[in-house]
Amino acid sequence: MVDDLYQEIILDHSKHPRNCHFMGDANRHAEGFNPLCGDKLKLYLRVEGGIVKDVSFEGSGCAISTASASLMTESLKGKTKEEAMKLLDNFHDLLTTDSPVSQELGKLVVFCGVKDYPARVKCATLAWHTLKSALNNTGEPVSTE
């Protein structure tokens, strides 16, 4: 049923997104765009000594993309760049493969239901694609297309 997709924690984060604000002292940032949905996202990072000290986002999107961005920001704080990239890979696998679920994902496993909704995978990964761009600091806007 559709409740598998919209689990309570996803609904909560979509209605009350965490770390959803502009960050004045960010030293990395990137923009993400999903042209199919019109979802737009700005991601801000403060990286010091190779560690994500702070992370926030702004934007408008569907419940899945908003909750994904919100939960992503929560799980990134204190992680090294390498750990963040590893988490991204694990998250991507969770949504697109049947490989065993990584323990490191923590709360992010609530997105496992997205796998059964192929049209929505891009909604869940928008924030993460944007993260990759911010960490690599390419400065190029990211598009899911």
């Binding site: 919209y6 979802d39 569907c62 419940a63």
Partner: protein
């Protein structure tokens, strides 16, 4: 139900109609399918499916080639569709109907062939504010290539073109006015007859994108005095990959070919090629023969029911749906033109269309969510996307009730 009552009075039995569409007899995610995405593509009646099947089972051969029996049969059936399309649009002769892949190709054909020959730097092309991307981009490409200018007729907040502003856009530089008859994103029926008359007075030609009009209303290109009119087979209950471009023969005759290949030539030597007469001049290569034959069956089917009856019934459904959806708090319908086809495009406060679409899908209800290939319309209303329920004559008041109940459930979930 008043809607069904009036339909029966009009000699229209929706249950009987539904029985002719096999696809409607299924459950999706355990619920009866409620198909409300007709503006994207319509479903196909048995008559169309049978015609395509018959072609492949019995008559399959290339057209305009062989002297053998099968080729003659397939040619006759394919060309018969051209005659049906002539009647459907009330064109003067069958030579004015060009088979294309769909509306998009029809518009591209005119922009490429007529545009390359007739548009020069400084010329102007006028389009409407709510065009589908396929009636924007071909003209943009042409304007870029020629140094011409694309001008846009603005609209009001109901989604109606501002005719006074249109009048101001017209001038000696205007070469072409290309507008949609019915907006796919909003449902607006634009006053194309008046638009064409004004364009002609300014010395400009006109192209009407009829993709959304053909399934819903009786068309008459002579009464409209349209120079070009395009529609798609798959939106009028026929197959995908086939459509019709109508053009006045004197214009088509003066235009250079669109693509080169078989069928569009008369003689070929390595030095020079002479082109075939209309309509074949614009039909290079083996076409979608089965699609063309299927389209003929679709036009027969629509005619048998009667476009006047279809339009009247759909109008009742639209009124019923507008009332049902308007009663939902926090729901705003976009596109409230006085003249409107059966499209209900809406947004809901705090809920993204993609979430609405996904939850409705799990209830067996198919709607479209997104920008509907009309991003400028979304920008105008300041929304990234809408949810769109688009109706056909096989939809029922009960299905509208299911939609409204589904939306209320979505609201419960996300608020």
């Amino acid at each position: 139900m008043s809607v069904l009552g009036s339909a029966i009075q009009a000699g229209f039995d929706v249950e009987q109609v539904r029985a002719e569409f096999p696809v409607l007899r299924q459950k999706v995610h355990g619920k009866p399918l409620v198909y409300l995405d007709n503006a994207a593509t319509s479903q196909k009646p048995l008559a169309v499916i049978d015609a395509i099947r018959r072609f492949y089972e019995v008559d399959c051969a290339n057209i305009h080639r062989g002297v053998h029996e099968l080729s003659q049969r397939s040619t006759a059936a394919y060309e018969q569709t051209r005659v049906k399309a002539k009647l459907f649009l009330n064109a003067r002769t069958r030579n004015e109907l060009i088979f294309v892949r769909g509306t998009t190709e029809g518009i591209n054909l005119v922009a490429s062939s007529w545009g390359r020959k007739c548009v020069k730097a400084g010329d102007e092309i006028v389009i409407g504010a709510m065009e589908h991307h396929s009636n924007i981009v071909p003209w943009q490409l042409l304007c870029e290539e020629k140094g011409a200018r694309l001008r846009v007729i603005p609209m009001n907040d109901r989604g109606e073109l501002l005719m006074e502003e249109y009048a101001k856009l017209l001038g000696p530089r205007t070469r072409m006015v290309a507008v949609g008859h019915v907006s796919n994103a909003l449902g607006t029926i634009s006053p194309v007859r008046e638009i064409i008359e004004m364009a002609h007075k300014a010395g400009a030609l006109t192209l009407i994108d009829g993709a959304q009009a053909a399934p819903h209303m009786k068309l008459d290109v002579q009464a409209l005095d349209a120079d070009f009119y395009a529609f798609s087979g798959h939106k009028v209950f026929g197959p995908t990959g086939i459509g019709i471009l109508y053009g006045k023969s004197k214009l088509l005759n003066a235009m250079p070919p669109y693509q080169g290949g078989g069928d569009m030539i008369r003689t070929v030597t390595f030095e020079k090629t002479t082109y075939n007469d209309l309509p074949y001049k614009f039909e290079a290569g083996t076409p979608n023969i089965a699609g063309g034959i299927g389209l003929g069956a679709a036009l027969d089917y629509v005619n048998r029911i009667g476009l006047d009856k279809i339009a009247a019934y759909e109008h009742e459904l639209l009124l019923y749906g507008t009332e049902a959806l308007s009663a939902i708090p926090g729901l705003r319908i976009l596109g409230t033109a006085r003249e409107k086809a059966a499209v209900l495009s809406f947004v809901m406060e705090g809920i993204h269309p993609h979430d609405i679409g996904t939850v409705l899908d799990r209830m067996g209800i198919a709607v479209r969510t997104g920008h509907h290939c009309a991003q400028p319309v979304m920008d105008w209303f300041g929304v990234p996307a809408t949810t769109r329920a688009s109706l056909a004559f096989y939809n029922t008041a009960a299905e509208i009730d299911a939609l409204a109940a589904g939306i209320r459930k979505v609201k419960e979930m996300f608020s």
